[in-house]
Point group: C2
Chain length 421, copies 2
């Protein structure tokens, strides 16, 4: 009998963990991703804020499986799932091809949701990919260059105004980094800009930032951010966005720098599965992470809608995806096949969010931490989970540099089209 074939779509935390677990198994594995690298997304905001290089937080997927001939890594775009014929369709140079599977693992993550207002994306980029991070970085630092040149006219203010939409961990981390980096740098490196003219807004629809944290920590994060100079607007919803403005009801903020950190939705590809979805479009799975009637299809990570014992949906965080990847590896290799008695249980090891240097909040097994200790914990955990020794060393070097200099090293604006040509 030929070895069973597993196709894993997506090499994020879930897909990569699963493939790694099965590296020495007897399965024939194909791991497909749109891009050639696994991204350590929790630190992506630091690439956007010029503190880290893309290469510091990304590893080529195939280098993770160096030396294994059983795992085929394909950089391809999956366009369709056919769950009845057990096929995954990909596209490459306009040619549609398919790959057959015995087991399919869907680990494609999610994308930004503009709540139906997709036209906002052009003016308010989100932060999911390295390209997103580089786009935001160039936008922010180009704005400062323009403000330096236009300092005599009122219009310069819009280049010094920054609006972050969404007060979850990404929004909070971006706002904190922006405040630390901009104000400090502008004071020292720009001779025409008055640092007091910089405005950073963080807009949250709920009545507190970090709604997934205990209220006490939300409050601490708010105070820390306000100390850094961030203006926080709670219970506030954005009603419109254009090139130069954010509208909040009848109030207008004039700005050339809008960053979107407000919501997620699944990718259009997922809909081709034609299975039950929750209200965010996520796939509703069985307790063993398979899809009803299709015990050979697993769904893991941000794209899966699965509840814990209390009936709350599991959060879209790396830890859930990693544990789900390990769970699938275990039951797929188990004796006696896959059955409904296997139940995925999430072991919540804690949640962390950083606000700035020596400022963070953390909840671990019900215990709450703030300040330097929470921040050190955050640093330790992020270095620990970063994949690759090289990446760990580089990030440590960059962080030591940044901690003492507050001078993000990678403030590069690289024109996409060479203007020399």
């Amino acid at each position: 009998m030929a070895d069973k074939k597993i196709v894993i779509v997506g090499a994020g935390f879930g897909g990569l963990t699963l493939a790694k677990q099965l590296e020495h198994s007897n399965f024939q594995i194909t791991l497909i991703d749109k891009v050639n690298h696994h991204l350590f997304q929790p630190l992506l905001y630091q690439v956007a804020m010029a503190a880290l290089s893309p290469g510091d937080i990304a590893v080529p997927i195939r280098s993770v499986f160096r030396g294994t001939k059983r795992i085929e890594v394909l950089m391809k775009e999956v366009v369709l799932f056919d769950k009845d014929k057990k096929r995954v369709y990909t596209i490459n140079n306009d040619t549609k091809e398919f790959i057959e599977y015995d087991y399919l693992v869907i680990a494609v993550g999610n994308k930004h949701s503009y709540f139906g207002k997709n036209e906002w994306e052009k003016y308010a980029p989100g932060l999911k990919t390295l390209n997103d991070a580089l786009t935001i970085r160039e936008k922010v630092f180009s704005s400062l260059e323009l403000a330096e040149q236009l300092h005599k006219i009122d219009e310069s203010i819009q280049y010094l105004t920054f609006v972050i939409v969404g007060g979850g961990p990404t929004g909070v981390e971006l706002a904190g980094a922006l405040a630390e980096i901009l104000i400090e740098n502008v004071k020292k490196d720009y001779i025409n800009i008055d640092a007091r003219k910089i405005n950073i807004y963080l807009i949250e629809g709920f009545d507190r930032i970090l709604p997934s944290f205990p209220a006490e920590l939300s409050h601490k994060a708010l105070i820390d951010l306000e100390d850094l100079g961030v203006k926080i607007l709670l219970n506030t919803r954005v009603t419109d966005i254009n090139e130069k403005e954010v509208m909040i009801g009848d109030k207008i903020i004039k700005t050339r720098n809008i960053i979107w950190a407000a919501g997620n939705e699944v990718q259009p590809l997922v809909k081709t599965l034609n299975v039950p979805f929750d209200k965010f479009g996520r796939i509703i799975t069985e307790r063993n992470l398979t899809i009803k009637k299709y015990p050979e299809i697993f769904v893991i990570g941000d794209v899966a809608a699965i509840k814990d014992e209390k009936g709350d949906y599991l959060p879209a965080v790396a830890q859930v995806a990693i544990q789900q990847g390990k769970f699938v590896a275990k039951i797929i290799q188990g004796e006696g096949g896959i059955n409904k008695n296997q139940v995925f249980k999430y072991n919540d090891r804690g949640t962390l969010a950083t606000i700035g240097r020596a400022k963070a909040v953390a909840v671990i097994k019900g215990f709450k931490f703030t300040g330097l200790f929470a921040w050190l914990l955050w640093v330790f955990v992020h270095i620990l989970f970063l994949i690759g020794f090289r990446n760990k060393v580089l990030v440590i070097v960059e962080w030591i540099w940044y901690y003492f200099s507050l001078k993000p090293g990678i403030r590069l604006i690289i024109p996409r089209q060479d203007t020399l040509k």
Copy 2:
């Protein structure tokens, strides 16, 4: 009397050195560059070959002058020089503006020359900017991904064929790095590609590579490159280039990877000066680096055509530009004004080119070196001249990693357009 105003156009080695020398002078200085960073161009090929990140070899120009209020740094494109009205015209958001000067320093560098065949550029990118390096990097690593997927068909060969046009230092360094990185990586990371099918060609019109080095070292470099698997075609001229082929007379090399390292010419902007040029379009300067009849205009770096005592043109290398920057700073600050008796003399400290790990060639004051010693010298000199402590540390870390692993860390393909959208 108001302070005299110096406008420096270009923040490469020449322009940056000059501005740094004048940092504490009484001049009012404006330093203009198209981009916001100074680039350490000698290591640009390592960004193209995925061994270094853009941020490792670039520093924001304004961070070099942190704390000085006398140097205004502008990220703008200069479009015209008016030497009679003493004005430099820039463009920004379609608005033309001018800046007046007492002294003008032209340090704009040069660009690739396709010898009149500009249509080749699309298929054979050169290596001058970070954008160029990223373009080449993505092209090379995308080719490997495609070759991995197309391994069953003959067409995959064109993705495994790499052609570098030009056997000067850039071409030699690129060829050596490509050979080391590709063959080693393909063997370990790609399960379908047969590493023996990789072909790397280096094409040189002259009868030896590294024509600016002594013949003995050219020969040594040739042997080292051939040992690494590079096929060197001497006395060979490219007659045509298209998307899939390089034509050499009636011979055709089928390839999807062409890199241009063959020639330089000045930028169109320089012609607006309307002064005497040499055959490469470079500005012919007086012995004191000014232009005839315009003692207030200095020309330094690659854009200046100036001969040494033997009547040979000075080479387009960093050392010449740096020494010229220092020379201009000295005479501009000197007593008694600028006069024709001040003569720029180039002190040739040596020339180096690296071929691979522990392989390099060097000429220092007439002494020739090869192998490990030349390579260690190369490493030492490049770290020494790299600007910024942070950059030095990061490059050392990356090099140690690379030396022992031969696993370039930054093999990222970052789609310019997010395919999720």
